[in-house]
């Protein structure tokens, strides 16, 4: 049997709910569109649309200071915007759960996505973030659960990397 699982954004949402996430910061992103919709529709989640991803790093720190759990949704290009703000999470050991959709690694039409997309893993490692990469839809939920445990249990930075293979290629039309 080879049943294609296409509801992985819903499974991610279920994981966030089980984890007690109350604030979700995001910069709009096509790969996260379904998850963003689910978060916006949930009365127990405060969805915070950001102008740039590093705002979300600071938002999550503030949430934790006040006793709430936050998650940060972004595309790989946004990771580079966060690097200095990670010093907040690293210096204070704030839990920081990031869900990052990949661009620039597989069937990418736009070459400008490649420079940042190609350095996501080393940048995360340099920033002392644990990397949880997912390429198969059936692995999304279990991998996300492990990331949640690590991030909030140990007050660490964790990034769930949703590969471009998982998401599917962006369709470019005129």
């Amino acid at each position: 049997m080879n049943v294609q699982i296409t509801d992985w954004p819903d499974r991610l949402f279920a994981t966030l709910k089980r984890a007690g996430i109350r604030q979700v910061g995001y910069v709009p992103d096509a790969g996260h569109a379904r998850l963003i919709d689910r978060c916006r529709a949930d009365p127990d989640i405060r969805d915070v649309v950001l102008t740039t991803e590093e705002e979300g790093v600071a938002l999550a720190a503030g949430a934790w200071l006040g006793g709430e759990r936050a998650a940060l949704l972004m595309q790989s290009s946004g990771l580079g915007n966060c690097v200095n703000m990670f010093s907040l999470a690293r210096s204070c050991r704030f839990p920081l759960l990031m869900l990052i959709t990949m661009r620039g690694e597989w069937e990418e039409f736009n070459p400008w996505q490649v420079p940042m997309g190609s350095i996501v893993d080393p940048v995360l490692k340099l920033c002392e973030a644990e990397v949880y990469r997912v390429t198969k839809p059936e692995d999304v939920e279990s991998t996300a659960e492990r990331a949640v445990q690590h991030v909030f249990g140990d007050e660490r930075i964790g990034a769930i990397i949703l590969s471009q293979q998982l998401i599917g290629k962006k369709v470019w039309t005129k």
Binding site: V49, E54, A58, G62, G67, L88, S91, C92, F94
Partner: protein, 193 residues
Amino acid sequence: MSGKLERRAAMATLLADRGDDLLVVPGLGSTTYDLAAAGDDDRNFYLWGAMGGAAMIGLGLALAQPDKRVAVITGDGEMLMGMGALATIGIQRPGNLAIVVFDNGVYGETGMQPSHTQSGVDLLAVAAACGIGPCLDVRDEAALRDLAARLKDLRETLFARVLIEASEPPRVLPERDGVVLKDRFRAAVGVKA
């Protein structure tokens, strides 16, 4: 005599009788020293880095603790680096959040180089344009006391620009260990696991 407010006295006025439910996030540099000089408190979350992040830390905190008051008190340089946060806050508008900018028109920490506000960039107008209100232009003692009173009875997201003189009082250096600052803050708020 510039006629502008002195930063240490201004901070002391804003925090006089602060009450148990006021949580304060300063920016890195001078406002962190000002806050420490006004009296150390577990409910101060001093910043030694994360430039541009103070307002967003305040937003996350205000959303998480709706029954407490949150005052971000930062400088013009720090606010300029995170100016997009005013747009983000402008559409969230938690009623328990105040953003106060001590504006002296210079980057004090790095040698008093002029900031954008000295050349006419108006953070008060930016905040107002982002939908934050009320936006207060604090230029004298009376306006400062009015702001202090409003901080005690926050009802809507408030922005204030406090015009201060470009002075450099002796630094008062608070705790630098981020984990210590985080843990003591969370314990004071009552959320430490």
